[in-house]
Symmetry: C2
Subunit: 345 residues, 2 copies
């Protein structure tokens, strides 16, 4: 096995502002022989997710350590076991893990691997609707927003992997759903395929005031829940529009991730007081203990065709930086995934 | 009775920015004869509270309607029943209500009056530690922050009616308490009388960075709970300092109430995501159903001398505007109350 080589995407510089192709480089290394307990994994699908941008800031103390420079990147992936010196895994097993991405082969000691069934859903779905983004959507909705039937739920970044599931789960729970996305095509999909009541193309709004007006038209009685993926003018407009007792789940603020200088926050936070409203941030890992409950609720909906999802598929490890950069330009429609290798060799 | 007259403070103009004496005027009116079911009340103590500033903005839709121009102001007061055509009340009864302030005599139909006992505490305490500010402090702490013993609680505006009770209740619950106030005298009182662990004079901090550094020194492991009365740099510094899983209760933002233009919000709201933290606004009226539970917990602590409170006493209805304006200059030390009349005529 030592003759085998690994291709990996390295981070060669920390992005200043938006990441660019020059911040990444594919390098090839030999793969060492397996030690007892280790497994050699072949990456089939890898994920790029907005939270990874936060790991490209060496100066910010966060919930996960920053990526090192001149080292391989890492991220969620679905992999196949190629060779195993661990009795828990055998060649041909499919696993999903928060690791393995940005490489075509990698070695694991088995920690953090979850076996997945290719018969239930396409393998890539375990990076999206049945994976971390899916759990994020479900947990933010059910654990923080707790919408009641008849309430109005507003979702930004609604055509994304997380947002589109939030929209559909909220519809299934009997809510009115208002979505914001960045193109006519995305809005059409949300209204026609996902059952969203009103989809707003935020490019039609120049500022928070215009988005507030659009929200006011779509939800004259205000919004009871807001699932926040975007930040900036979206948060300001949502705060203007919240009804008494509203809940806001802060999942992401993709609009500010690449800011060189911290952007000012919304000037209308005091509405949280006057309207006795809650704004709660979360990272998905605090809800890992609910992963099974999530899967039991969402997998059947998927099997019954009640949940739609989209993927932006990129081919080959070399495309990973492009897919990642695309996250911040609204270029991906649905979950961005990279096919690193075939399902079976 | 119709010969009797009422003195009332009128709002003659909506303040632009900080309120000034010229926005108020005392006028005298005849008191009409009582109808069946009505009660004539004599105001003994009246309250001025920061939330009233919000009612002096005709353009902002809020949870209570704005004050009308050229009409008497209104606010919390402790009053004595002088004459009654309502069988629920007899002359000599003391009552507290969200009404009756800014006037020396007023007529009620009995709605919203709560009888109080002058034997348990001085009558003015029903406007402070045993009244609306007390319930505000207790509810924000117990219903939103829910501090656990050993956790660190940060309180801004800590020498005020609300803040000082939050500090003391948090100490009683076994927390480490860090307080912020605006003078050495206030900080000394908080540390020496209220048992606060560290009191910071925020005038020693020029900006959020300096306040963050001071908080970091006082609470090296971060703050678990923040009770927000002030806004501005306090909120930004608190967000910089929150520990994972922190809770923020938004009670007030006195620093922004008089802003002519909306001030930008804190640039670091995304910390709520990375640290899975909650920020929840509230108005005290949503917790009125807990008023009895609050009284049962706090009244004995007060009787046992375990709770200290301070009052800034102003004499006479004419002083009410001055007391109110003083709220926004940090001039009051403890609850600002106005003695409108003697306990007994």
């Amino acid at each position: 096995m030592s003759a085998r080589s690994q291709n990996a995407v390295y981070l060669t510089s920390y992005p200043a502002g938006l990441p660019s192709a020059g911040d990444f480089e594919v390098r090839t290394n030999d793969i060492p022989d397996l030690k007892s307990g280790e497994i050699l994994m072949r990456t089939i699908w890898m994920s790029v997710d907005p939270y990874m941008r936060g790991r490209m800031r060496p100066d910010v103390k966060s919930y996960i350590p920053p990526f090192s420079l001149d080292a391989p990147l890492d991220g969620g992936a679905v992999s196949e076991v190629v060779e195993s010196k661990n009795e828990g895994f055998k060649p041909g097993d499919y696993v999903v893990a928060f690791q393995g991405g940005w490489k075509d082969y990698w070695i694991s000691n088995g920690d953090g691997l979850t076996k997945v069934d290719a018969g239930i859903a396409p393998l890539s779905a375990y990076l999206g609707v049945l994976g971390m983004p899916g759990l994020t959507a479900w947990a933010g909705l059910t654990q923080i927003l707790e919408p009641k039937p008849g309430e109005t739920v507003f979702v930004s970044g609604a055509a994304g992997a997380v947002g589109s599931l939030v929209c559909q789960l909220a519809k299934i729970k009997g809510c009115k759903v208002i979505a914001s996305a960045g193109s006519t095509e995305k809005c059409d999909w949300l209204e026609n395929e996902c059952g969203v009541d009103v989809a707003l193309n935020y490019h039609d709004c120049k500022n928070a005031g215009e988005l507030t007006a659009a929200l006011g038209k779509a939800a004259p009685d205000g919004i009871n829940c807001y699932f926040e993926n975007v930040g900036g003018m979206h948060l300001e407009a949502a705060l203007n529009s919240i009804a008494f007792g509203a809940r806001i789940a802060l999942c992401g603020m993709i609009s500010v991730y690449n800011a060189k200088e911290p952007a000012a926050g919304p000037p209308n936070l005091a509405f949280l007081i006057a309207r006795s409203a809650k704004m709660q941030g979360f990272i998905v890992s605090i809800y890992l203990h609910l992963a099974q409950q999530f899967a039991m609720e969402v997998a059947p909906l998927l099997a019954q065709g009640k949940i739609r999802f989209r993927e932006s598929v990129y081919d080959g490890l070399d495309e990973a930086p492009k897919a990642f950069i695309g996250l911040f330009h609204g270029e991906n429609f649905g979950k961005a995934v990279i096919r690193v290798g075939p399902d079976r060799l």
